[in-house]
Symmetry: C2
Subunit: 176 residues, 2 copies
């Protein structure tokens, strides 16, 4: 199985904490194996995400990284590709097939992304060439990468499982 | 042409402003006609979104709504359907075909959503049954509703247009 890891670039303190947590939830829910946050305090976010994994299942890692360059170079030297999601890149709808089955690091930004990221990445890919959100870009990218199959995936080791309903909330609690 | 409108439920002040702005950007970028924010100060968000429309094109409306019930009842009485996105709903991958070509209001929540919304909506639909984000749920729902065609859409009246690039940023400024 190929490994898919999300690298979230440092956010602006206070401003983007919720967005970073959402990015982690999306990475997990849409089938990535983990998320790395570079250049910021990851404790609160890590806790929220680990809490979700404990209740809803699956192994998913959350890590803080010290140096952006080291994290990326390590990944590349192990043979993985690096894909940077940006509204300036090539269209996901034309590019996605070449990424399937590869070990991949997906970089998502926060605010202005430095030119270095465009250079260091193997591919710059756009989910539409309009401004929207790193959260939506990541979700649609993963949905297309996994061809929608991630939505039907079972999450192992869950303590709770939703029974899809026409109306209201049905949750099955799973005994250990 | 059918009309697709997003209704964003009131957020918690301070905590969700960025998320609400992202929700508006996603609605616009993925082909909805407008977004309505119920129960909160919409001025700052409206300004950001209108600024994006001015630069990047297309008509897209941003409105504040006073009463949730009135907004939804008005919509229903004009013949539109109401779809609530929730992790507890029926799978989007099974449900989506029935929504194509319909006038539709898509409700997205913020934090805990009251039981009333599940009742008042015609359909409760899940983009996966895992916790993630209203932003990603909205993006993937619209991407599937429009079958990916929204990513190739031209935005009329834009002052700037991206030329998709392998690396770096290429933007064409359009003279009036």
């Amino acid at each position: 199985m190929s490994e898919v890891v999300v690298l979230r670039l440092g956010h602006r303190p206070g401003r983007d904490t919720r967005i970073s947590t959402h990015a982690g939830l999306v990475a997990r829910a849409f089938g990535a194996d983990g998320i790395i946050f570079v250049n910021y305090e990851v404790e609160g976010i890590k806790e929220s995400l680990e809490d979700v994994c404990e209740r809803w299942g699956n192994s998913f890692f959350v890590k803080g990284g010290e140096s952006l360059r080291d994290v990326i170079e390590d990944w590349k030297s192990s043979g993985g590709v690096v894909v940077h999601l940006t509204m300036y890149g090539l269209p996901v709808q034309r590019e996605i097939s070449k990424f399937r089955g590869k070990d991949m690091m997906i970089i998502i930004g926060a605010g202005k992304v430095s030119g270095e990221i465009y250079e260091i990445s193997d591919f710059n890919v756009a989910v539409g060439n309009q401004p929207h959100s790193e959260i939506s870009a990541l979700a649609v990218f993963l949905d297309r990468l996994f061809e929608g199959k991630e939505l039907d995936r079972e999450f192992s080791g869950a303590r709770r499982k939703i029974i899809p309903s026409e109306s209201g909330k049905r949750v099955k609690e799973i005994e250990e």
